[in-house]
């Protein structure tokens, strides 16, 4: 094959850079230039951007008339004439993070310049200012880096099909990250639209390694994409990952429960001191603040060389931290998932994970944030936050060694995202429903969407009810000449302002007196603060001065210890892969306690567990019962991970509650779950007479038990916001919208009570069933329990296993008692107490 002009220029470019054109990059280029679509599976730092950007440039060069670019390749600034016909937007590069876009932009533009091309690269994110936006409206760049949200906003413009007229390629960066979220669904819908406009559109994703790469490819390409036109190209990376646990001198150093891990601060600092630059990952934003404070108190010399990074910090602060990381000005950055993705920070050579990462894939990804230099290993330390996590340390190491990777299941049937999308299109150019129905069904997440559901959604956006005969003044989308359009400017504006799928609690800005913004805290945190109260935020101790128009003014407070800011946030469940390892290791801990050093350390704790209760073997299921001031506790330890326990606990509670009027409050962690009641339950008798762990009527019982709890109501919060039921307000005009605010739980109550078959309510239940109570997983667990010997132990006190669950305050209630009876009992306790 003779080399094309573009190919030679690219080859020369790699040579000039002193880089090797890697095999996977060449393969990707060949596939792309062959007109194929697909996935590039490569880790960060491997040159994955160039694997697709270079062939895109080659394609461009080859499309140019023969004379121009080669004339004088060494002189980038020659005033070559602009190509006569401006083609406008040809390439979309979708990225999940605004922070990534800047770096991408730099690299992509530089490569184009160095190849002496007059190609314009642009950026479009929530940060893009009005001038750039209007410039883009006049003349789109040739390639645009964009977030899924901003892409949707383009579709809300009047003339958007004109914009995308010449688009031939879409690249989605970090697709593994987007795919499992509703932002992924957003991306799917947008791509389905673009593919409809141009059937020859080439779509490429860049993904880290996940368990379901093939599925990831199909989600990206849609249902009708011909398989033979698609490929997965894998980078051959043999980067080694070294896993080391931080083990306390004595197991007593570690608490039985908790998730901060600061007791190991000395060992952590030692590791930091031995390294060049360290990233310390915690699972929560509050965790970062606690670690920062703990280190600065004990090791004041870290002032100035340590920084914080989490999603509630002001963009400017985060940018500064990222810059400083690049420039090797920081020794330690304490961060959350906010630094999971993104550009490579070359100075980073060590990563510390505090607390369970919950999945092996996430652990590996974080490990990959270190050691970017070729030939350097990635090194990650695991810092347990409680004693039982020592078992996890062993399991993680094993998971990494065996290269176990979890799946990222894509989101399906998100009616909220679809309702928003329909609104977006109606605000933009409007849509013809039959055509859109087909287009939407081309996307993976809506492949099973049926006519009835579609018509409900059409009703939802036009008449505001499932019945199409309406008498009132509901107004949103109208039908004009067979097209669904929004004519009201106010409706359009309000929709544009509330687009997106990331739902957060109302953020209150925190500002220093000097005017510098620190970031945001949640409204619920601020409501109970008084002037003079001190709290820790952004690594600073600050004093609350006043709150005015959604902004808290603070000043620096010296030497005082204050409150910790807390943010609401879901708890990640342990992946089933990781929980399998944990079950096995636990059995190991009894049988071969000295096989692993972590398990040897745990010995005193396990001995105490054995003394108070027992340690179950793999063929045994342990149930503990004990009574405390709080009531009667039943603890069950299937070691199946939080997700399974959540479902199993409410099913068990439901099944028992069918036998007798009783109320349970249930809690769970990754090891087991608790049923707590104000009544004693004779569990042995109950088990002898009933098959509580049966898989019979499982599906039915799952439905019934979800109905009996508030799980769906909580899921509804996000759905209500995405589907446009909760208007967050116009920027800077908070008061005006108060009349239009109703809590999602009120909406949930009213909608489920007064409207049959509301799809959004249905979605809330479906999300619980899919993400929290997945039937298959539960069935497997129950089947496994059926083979186990059940042992009930009555313990005088909580045990090392049960204590962490007992102190958990996040609880679900399930009852079969009459409300009035329950209240009678509660009130009696009040008067007894007095």
């Amino acid at each position: 094959m003779t080399k094309s002009r573009g190919h030679s220029i690219a080859e020369q470019w790699f040579k000039n850079k002193g880089w090797k054109w890697a095999t996977f990059q060449k393969e990707a280029a060949a596939a792309y230039l062959d007109g194929k679509s697909g996935l590039v599976n490569a880790p960060t730092g491997s040159g994955k951007t160039y694997s697709l950007w270079v062939p895109i440039l080659i394609r461009h060069i080859n499309s140019l008339p023969a004379k121009e670019p080669k004339a004088n390749p060494k002189e980038p600034k020659t005033k070559s004439k602009e190509p006569k016909a401006k083609k406008g937007l040809q390439v979309l590069w979708i990225t999940p993070l605004r922070a990534l876009s800047k770096d991408l932009f730099r690299n992509m533009e530089l490569a184009a310049l160095e190849m002496n091309l007059t190609w314009r690269v642009g950026m479009r994110t929530g940060d893009t200012n009005a001038k750039d936006r209007s410039d883009q409206k006049k003349q789109m760049p040739d390639a645009l880096i964009i977030t899924p949200e901003s892409l949707h906003i383009l579709f809300a413009q009047k003339n958007n099909s004109e914009l995308f007229k010449n688009l031939h390629t879409v690249v989605v960066d970090e697709w593994h990250e987007l795919m499992g979220s509703k932002r992924g669904t957003q991306t799917e819908l947008a791509i389905a639209r673009l593919r409809n406009m141009n059937p020859n559109l080439q779509t490429w994703g860049i993904s880290a390694t996940i368990g379901n790469l093939n599925e990831a490819k199909q989600v990206l390409l849609g249902m009708r994409f011909p398989e033979e036109n698609s490929v997965i190209i894998k980078a051959n990376t043999d980067k080694r990952i070294l896993v080391e646990s931080i083990i306390p001198e004595r197991v007593e150093t570690l608490p039985w429960s908790g998730y901060m891990g600061t007791r190991l601060v000395d060992q952590v600092v030692q590791i930091v001191n031995q390294s060049n630059t360290t990233l310390l990952f915690t699972n929560t934003r509050s965790g970062t603040e606690i670690w920062y404070r703990t280190i600065i108190e004990k090791y004041p010399e870290f002032a100035g060389i340590m920084a914080l990074h989490h999603a509630s910090l002001d963009r400017e602060i985060r940018d500064w931290v990222e810059e400083a990381l690049h420039d090797e000005r920081l020794k330690l950055v304490i961060c959350t998932a906010s630094l999971d993705l993104g550009v490579d920070f070359r100075p980073v050579d060590t990563v510390i994970q505090v607390g369970s990462p919950k999945s092996i894939a996430r652990f590996i990804q974080r490990a990959g944030r270190s050691g970017h230099r070729p030939g350097v290993d990635s090194k990650i330390y695991f810092c347990p936050t409680n004693a039982l996590e020592l078992i996890e340390a062993v399991s993680l190491r094993e998971g990494v060694a065996k290269n176990i990777l979890e799946d990222r299941p894509p989101v399906a049937h998100a009616f909220d995202v679809l309702a928003q999308w329909m609104m977006t299109l109606a605000v933009g150019e409007g849509f013809e429903e039959a055509a859109l129905f087909e287009e939407v069904r081309d996307s993976y997440g809506y492949q099973y969407l049926n006519r009835q559901e579609w018509e409900w959604l059409l009703g939802y956006i036009t008449t505001g009810s499932s019945s199409l005969t309406v008498y009132d003044e509901y107004k949103k989308v109208e039908r004009v000449d067979g097209r669904y359009v929004v004519t009201s400017r106010r409706v359009a504006l309000r929709h544009r302002l509330s687009m997106g799928t990331i739902v957060s609690e109302t953020g209150i800005k925190v500002k220093l007196q000097s005017g510098k913004y620190l970031g945001t805290v949640e409204e619920s945190f601020v409501t109970w603060m008084k002037p003079g109260d001190v709290f820790t935020f952004a690594g600073m101790t600050v004093e609350f001065l006043r709150i005015h128009e959604m902004t808290v003014s603070v000043k620096k407070a010296q030497g005082k210890k204050g409150f910790l800011v807390r943010w609401a946030g879901g708890r990640m469940p342990l992946s089933s892969q990781l929980s399998t390892f944990i079950r096995e290791r636990l059995a190991d801990a009894i049988e071969n306690p000295f096989k692993e050093k972590e398990l040897a350390k745990m010995r005193p704790l396990l001995e105490l567990q054995a003394e108070r209760s027992m340690i179950p073997k793999t063929d045994e299921l342990l149930i503990e019962q004990c009574e405390t001031r709080e009531g009667y506790h039943v603890f069950i330890f299937p070691f199946e991970g939080r997700l399974v326990h959540e479902g199993m606990s409410i099913i068990l509670a439901y099944r028992i509650s069918k036998l007798t009027p009783i109320t349970f409050s249930v809690a769970m962690n990754d090891y087991g779950f608790e049923l707590l009641s104000d009544q004693y339950v004779d569990f042995e008798k109950l088990l002898a007479e009933n098959d509580l762990f049966s898989t019979k009527h499982l599906v039915d019982d799952i439905y019934q038990s979800v109905n009996a709890t508030e799980m769906a109501k909580r899921k509804f919060r996000e759905i209500a916001a995405i589907s446009g039921l909760m208007f967050q307000g116009y920027p800077g005009k908070n008061v005006k919208t108060r009349q239009l605010q109703a809590s999602s739980s009120l909406l949930f109550t009213v909608m489920s009570k007064y409207e049959d078959n509301n799809l959004l309510i249905k979605q809330a239940y479906q999300e619980v069933l899919t993400y929290q109570l997945e039937e298959v997983r539960m069935r497997n667990a129950l089947d496994r329990i059926a083979t186990q010997k059940i042992i009930v132990k009555k313990t005088p006190k909580p045990t090392p296993f049960s204590f962490p669950i007992m102190v958990d305050r996040l609880r679900e209630q399930l009852t079969s008692e009459k409300l009035e009876d329950r209240i009678q009992k509660m009130i009696k306790q009040y008067s007894n107490a007095d």
């Binding site: 709080e630 104000d678 109703a742």
Partner: protein, 213 residues
């Protein structure tokens, strides 16, 4: 549940209203009629069927108590005029034999003439009768020798029980100088109240009122 205030008898009803026996008067707070339609007009699809529930419960109340008078403690109608007012107007006309009066709340921005036309006496501020004051906003300080009935806050209370149980329900809040009614409207939220000294809380389910200590 009956309570005695200044020698008069008041029944706290699970329909979230108070019946004043001596004067055969119903006290109703925070109906927020029109709110559902208001939301719907702005493109928020609250199911319209819910509107009927308010009237259903009003009918029940009037029939069960045989009241000859209703005092609305403000926020009868949520903001601007919409079609729901006509539903209310019809309902009012069906109950023309009942005397009705309203003390205006912060959401009652309809022209006074509309209320008058519906034969509802309007009190822009407080309405006083004997020892009692009827108003929308609860009073921060006690009024000497008077007892206040107010709405506005939509009080709810959470009771806790053994076994980490809790239940959150609408409530009546009664202290020495004032009673605050739960909100009546089907589409209204709630504000959490605490127990304090000299304050009695009565929580209500759909069928029964309970006194919390």
């Amino acid at each position: 549940m009956q309570i005695e205030i200044r020698g008069e008898h008041f029944i706290l009803l699970s329909q979230k209203a108070i019946f004043w026996e001596e004067t055969q008067t119903l006290l109703i707070g925070d109906l927020h009629l029109g709110k559902i339609t208001h939301f719907r007009k702005e493109g928020i699809a609250v199911p319209p069927n819910a509107i009927d529930n308010n009237f259903k419960r009003l009918n029940e109340l009037v029939q069960n108590t045989g009241a000859t008078r209703i005092i609305f403690l403000g926020d009868l109608f949520h903001n601007q005029y919409n079609a729901e007012w006509e539903l209310f107007h019809d309902w009012r006309m069906q109950h023309h034999y009942i005397e009705m009066l309203i003390v205006i709340g912060n959401h009652d921005i309809l022209p006074v003439s509309l209320f008058l036309e519906a034969d509802i006496a309007v009190h822009l501020n407080d309405y006083e009768e004997g020892d009692f004051v009827f108003t929308h906003h609860p009073k921060v300080d006690a009024i000497e020798n008077k007892f206040v009935f107010a709405g506005h806050v939509h009080p709810v209370f959470t009771t806790y029980g053994k076994g980490r149980q809790s239940v959150r329900l609408p409530c009546f809040v009664v202290d020495n100088h004032q009673a605050i009614l739960p909100s009546f409207g089907v589409f209204t939220g709630g504000f959490q109240m605490d127990l304090t000294k000299n304050r009695k809380i009565y929580i209500t389910t759909d069928t029964k009122v309970f006194s919390v200590c």
